[in-house]
Amino acid sequence: MALEVKNITFSYNGGLLLEDASVAFEKSQIYAIIGPNGAGKTTFLKIVLSLLKPQSGDVFYEGKNLKSLTYLQKAKIFSYLPQMPVYSQEDKLWEVVKRGDYPHRRIPPPPRSLSLRKEIAELYLELKNMWERKMSTLSGGEIQRGVIARVVIQDTPVMVFDEPLNHLDLSHRLKLFELFQKMKNEGKTIIYAVHDFNISLEYNHKIFLIQKGGALKQLNNREEEVKEILKETYGVDFKTAKTDDKYYYFPFKRKE
C-alpha cells in the first residue's frame, strides 16, 4: 500500500465535503477522481497532499504519517498540478519547468538525470522547440503541457493532477494518458481529477466518485449500476455505448 487516506472528515463553511472517507492507493496504479462541481475533488486532492488539514483523519505514505514530514521531504514523495497553475508570464518555459528539480537539488539523490526527465516531458508532451519561449506567448494548451512538464521534472513516486486535461486537444489527452501509463509501469501512483472519464475507462484507470454530501465510492464498470449512480450524482440521464466489451457513458437531456 503506497498511500493510505484514513477516516477523513472535512467540512467547509458548514457544508460536509468528505465524511469518514478512507481510500488506499497502490503503487503502479492510476486513479481518476470524478464528481460534480463543488463536490470536493480538489479538496480531496489537497488533503492527500496535506495542503489542507481535515477536521479528523490522517494520510500515511508507506506507513509514515505525513504530519511528521517537512515540506522538502514531502516534495520528494508528491508532486502536484493544481487546477489553475500560477507562473510568471515573463519567464521562459524552461525556467518555469526547471524549478520542479528544486527538491532533488536540496535532498539528493535525484530520481534520474535532469536531461532524461526533460526528454521524457519533451517526448510525451510535445514541447520540442518550446523551452525558450516566454510563457506569455504560449497558447492555453501549450501552457497546460508546460506546467505538466514541471510535475514530470519533479518525478515523484506519487503524482497528483487536478484536471490535467484542461485545455488539451484530443490527441494531447491521449499522449498524456500514455505518459501516465509509462509512469505507472515505473511503479508510480497517479491520482487525477477529471470530468470526462470515458478515456479513463478506456485506459482501465480506477475510478472514484465523490458525491455532494461527502460520500466517496469506487465505480466498477457495470452498465446499469453505473448509470444509476451517475444519474443520482449529476441529475441527468446517461446513454451508453459498448465497444470491445467495455461501456462508455454520455449524458443527454431527455425531451419532455
Binding site: 489537497k46 497532499l49 495542503l51 517537512t70 515540506y71 522538502l72 514531502k74 516534495a75 520528494k76 508528491f78 508532486s79 502536484y80 493544481p82 489553475m84 497553475p85 500560477v86 507562473y87 510568471s88 515573463e90 519567464d91 521562459k92 525556467e95 518555469v96 524549478r99 520542479g100 528544486y102 527538491p103 537539488r105 536540496r106 519533479q154
Partner: protein, 314 residues
C-alpha cells in the same frame, strides 16, 4: 557569468570616475591623496553601499510580492525609516546616538510601516503602491513637524538628511554598515532558489518543498533591514531599488541569484555615476546625493516606461 563580469567592469569604471575625476580645480597636488582618502572615500563608500543595498532590496520586494513596481521607497519603508532616524536625531541630537541606534530605529519604523501597508493592501498591487505613497508623504511630513521645535542649525542637518544627504561616515560607522550589509545580503542571496519558487502559487510552492511562510517573512525582513540601513546613512533615496532590477532583467533570465549578482554591481554603478555627476557640477560643496540619484532614477524610469509601453502597444 560573462554578464556578471561585464557589470563588475562597469562598476570599476564608475568607481574610478567617482574617485579620481572631478576633483576640485584649485586643489594642491600634494593634498590630493589626503583629499581622496579623507573626504572622497567615505562618501563613495556610502554611495556604493546605497546602490547595492537598495537594488537587491528592491529586487527581493519585486520578486516576493510579485509586483513589478515594488521597491523600498514605493512601499513606504523609506518614509517610515526616515521618521525613525529623525526621532533618534531629535532624541539624542547630532548623529542620533551613533549609527547602531539610528539604524535600529530606522529599521523598526520601516518594518512597522511595511507591515501596516501590506496588511491594509490585502494583496492588491495597486492599493499597495497607493498606500506606500501615502505612507511616505505622511511620515516624511510627520518628521518635518517634529523638527519644527529644533534650532535652525539642527534643522538644516535634518533637511539635508531628508533630501538624501550623505553624511561623512567615520571608520566605525563604515565598518558597522559594511558588516550589516554582508550579514543580511548574504542570506538573502542564499534564499534565491526558494524566492524563485514563490513565483508559483503557495500550494504549488509547498508541494515543491518550499516553506512559503518562512521564505516570504525572511526575505522581506532582510530586504527591509538593508533598505532601512541605507536610510539611516543616506536618507531617502528613491527609484534605485525600482529601476536596477528592471535593467538587470533585460540582461539575464528571471533567476533571483543571477539578477542579484548583476544588481549588486549595477546599482552602485548608477549611484556612482550620479555622484560623479554631482561632483562635476560642483566639486567643493557636499551635495545631497539623493537629489541626483532621484533625477537619474526618474529619467531611467521614464525610459523604461516608454519602452515597455511601446513594446506592448505594437
Amino acid at each position: 557569468m560573462k554578464k556578471t563580469l561585464f557589470f563588475i567592469a562597469l562598476f570599476c569604471v564608475a568607481l574610478f570616475s567617482a574617485v579620481f575625476l572631478f576633483l576640485p580645480k584649485n586643489l594642491d597636488p600634494s593634498l590630493k591623496f589626503e583629499f581622496i582618502t579623507a573626504i572622497r572615500l567615505p562618501e563613495i563608500f556610502a554611495v556604493v553601499l546605497a546602490g547595492a543595498a537598495l537594488s537587491v532590496s528592491g529586487l527581493a520586494f519585486q520578486t516576493v510580492l510579485r509586483n513589478d513596481l515594488a521597491d523600498p521607497y514605493v512601499l513606504g519603508i523609506s518614509g517610515g525609516s526616515c521618521f525613525g532616524v529623525t526621532l533618534s536625531i531629535i532624541a539624542f541630537g547630532g548623529t542620533g546616538s551613533g549609527i547602531f541606534f539610528r539604524a535600529s530605529s530606522s529599521f523598526i519604523f520601516g518594518l512597522v510601516c511595511l507591515f501596516i501597508i501590506i496588511k491594509l493592501s490585502g494583496n492588491s498591487p495597486e492599493r499597495l503602491l497607493l498606500l506606500g505613497v501615502i505612507s511616505n508623504i505622511f511620515f516624511s511630513t510627520l518628521a518635518r513637524v517634529f523638527t519644527l521645535q529644533l534650532k535652525p542649525s539642527e534643522l538644516t542637518s535634518i533637511n539635508y538628511f531628508l533630501l538624501g544627504f550623505i553624511s561623512p561616515l567615520n571608520s566605525n560607522e563604515i565598518l558597522f554598515s559594511f558588516a550589516a550589509f554582508i550579514f543580511f545580503a548574504t542570506p538573502l542571496f542564499l534564499l534565491g532558489d526558494e524566492i524563485d519558487i514563490l513565483s508559483f502559487s503557495d500550494d504549488e510552492s509547498k508541494t515543491m518543498g518550499v516553506n512559503v511562510q518562512k521564505t516570504r517573512i525572511l526575505s522581506i525582513l532582510f530586504a527591509t533591514i538593508l533598505a532601512s540601513l541605507i536610510v539611516s546613512i543616506c536618507g531617502m533615496i528613491g527609484f534605485i531599488g525600482l529601476i536596477v532590477p528592471h535593467i538587470a532583467r533585460i540582461f539575464t533570465a528571471n533567476d533571483f541569484k543571477k539578477l542579484f549578482l548583476i544588481s549588486i554591481f549595477l546599482g552602485p554603478s548608477i549611484t556612482l555615476f550620479a555622484y560623479s555627476f554631482s561632483k562635476m557640477a560642483n566639486a567643493k560643496i557636499v551635495v545631497p546625493i539623493g537629489l541626483y540619484i532621484n533625477l537619474f532614477g526618474i529619467l531611467f524610469f521614464v525610459y523604461l516606461f516608454a519602452k515597455k509601453g511601446f513594446s506592448n502597444g505594437a
